[in-house]
């Protein structure tokens, strides 16, 4: 199968699954609609009605990790093609990528020493 065919098959699969799910939703709708009653649509919070919306600026505590993650993610994008040709190229490939990884690792160590690797 050509690449285009493979991807279109995957797309068809995704659409098919989504379509089946919505079909099942329709089947559930056959049972009847949801009856609107007071208090039913308030998100369940342990027996206390809390109606206020919660959307807002959420204080994520892992932003130190997130910055380092960006760097490593970019690195991994380079490593995939490198991994495929590694055996062919031989020792030089190891050394080249080894330098790259070492620099990144030093970055990780630096972040660690500066307190990035902890809950902020």
């Amino acid at each position: 199968m050509g690449v285009l065919e493979q991807y279109s098959l995957l797309l068809a699969l995704a659409v098919g699954i989504a379509g089946t799910v919505f079909g099942v939703y329709g089947l559930a709708r056959l049972m009847g609609p949801t009856r609107p009653e007071p208090g039913k649509d308030v998100p369940a919070s342990a027996g206390v009605l809390s109606r206020d919306p919660v959307w807002g600026r959420y204080h994520a505590r892992y932003y130190g990790y997130a910055l380092l993650f960006l760097a490593f993610d970019m690195e991994m994008a380079f490593m995939y093609p490198w991994a495929v040709v590694y055996k062919e190229v031989g020792l030089v490939a190891l050394l080249d990528m080894g330098v790259f990884l070492a620099i990144l690792f030093l970055g990780l160590l630096y972040g660690w020493s500066q307190g990035a690797l902890r809950r902020q």
């Binding site: 995704a14 799910v21 998100p43 369940a44 994520a60 990790y65």
Partner: protein, 298 residues
């Protein structure tokens, strides 16, 4: 035809997993239980919370299921039994599984409820922790196979499975897979004791049934990925290839399921610290070791 067989195997494995899960909880083997429980969910009302983000709320369970199925679509059951043997199969799995994060953040933000939102954002932290631990072992596996094609990766393990060749990679991948499927002890987004169900909390009725099915299927997909990358896929004596794939996948999935019941939930701060200070250096070490092994061992 292949599509039908693979999908049947996928959902059949999810069903078997549910039966085994029911067996560990109640002690009775009830084959019809998952189907009946799904039917029971169908009969209950589906409540939509007040002022939700409707698109996110509806999309999350569907997206989770689609992701699980797409991930399984590139994993081979047998040399000729794969829906789409992509040239970048290993990378595609990673890309598809990244959407688990999107689905969970949608499920967290959509209902406009406190528990769900905290669960969703916690999962983002969890992704930052486990993501490198999935990608780096896959790179090491691809190094040995010299290809990202999943059938080639399995083919490279014909004489020696990767679990023996790269045990460190296997351990890291297994742990990260459990974290990706947010199974206990990594069930931070759906913690019952901390968030009363968290991300799952506001789904009722048929949407809850789809969400639960999606979670099970995700575990099966990850177990299949572990089998393909580390356990030699379809290789094995006597039985036909697809039988070996199935057995290995189920074994890994059941072990992931059972591990959870015997361990308390990990703290979020601990998870991130250990993954980044211990896990990533080990993953880098794994790549270096595999690199040396490939060059040295003919």
């Amino acid at each position: 035809m292949t599509v039908a067989i693979v999908l049947l195997t996928l959902f059949g494995s999810a069903w078997l997993l549910a039966v085994i899960e029911g067996w560990t909880v109640t002690g009775r083997l009830q084959p019809a239980a998952p189907l009946l429980s799904g039917l029971a969910h169908l009969g209950r009302e589906s409540i939509v919370p007040r002022s939700p983000d409707r698109v996110f709320f509806e999309a999350a369970p569907v997206l989770l299921l689609v992701v699980a199925v797409l991930g399984a679509a590139v994993l081979p059951l047998a040399p000729d039994l794969v829906i789409a043997d992509l040239g970048t199969g290993a990378l595609f799995i990673n890309a598809a599984l990244a959407y688990v994060l999107v689905a969970l953040i949608m499920a967290g933000w959509g209902p406009n409820g406190a528990y769900a939102m905290i669960g969703g954002w916690r999962f983002l932290g969890q992704l930052i922790a486990y993501s490198m631990l999935i990608v780096m072992p896959i790179t090491a596996v691809a190094m040995r196979a010299e290809s990202l094609v999943n059938t080639a990766i399995v083919g490279s393990q014909a004489d020696l499975w990767n679990i023996v060749y790269q045990p460190l990679g296997f351990v890291l991948f297994y742990i990260a897979a459990m974290a990706l499927a947010f199974r206990s002890p990594f069930d931070l987004p759906t913690a019952e004791g901390e968030l009363a169900g968290g991300v799952d909390a506001e789904y009722t009725g048929v949407r809850l049934a789809v969400l639960r099915l999606a979670r099970l299927t995700l575990v099966v997909t990850l177990a299949a990925a572990t089998t393909v990358f580390y356990l030699g896929g379809w290789h094995g004596p006597l039985l036909p290839p697809w039988a070996w794939s199935l057995i290995k996948t189920l074994a890994v999935a059941v072990s992931m399921l059972l591990a959870g019941g015997y361990l308390p939930r990990i703290r979020e701060a601990d998870l991130m610290r250990w993954c980044w200070t211990l896990g990533i250096p080990l993953a880098l070490l794994n790549i270096v070791i595999v690199g040396l092994l490939i060059l040295v061992v003919p």
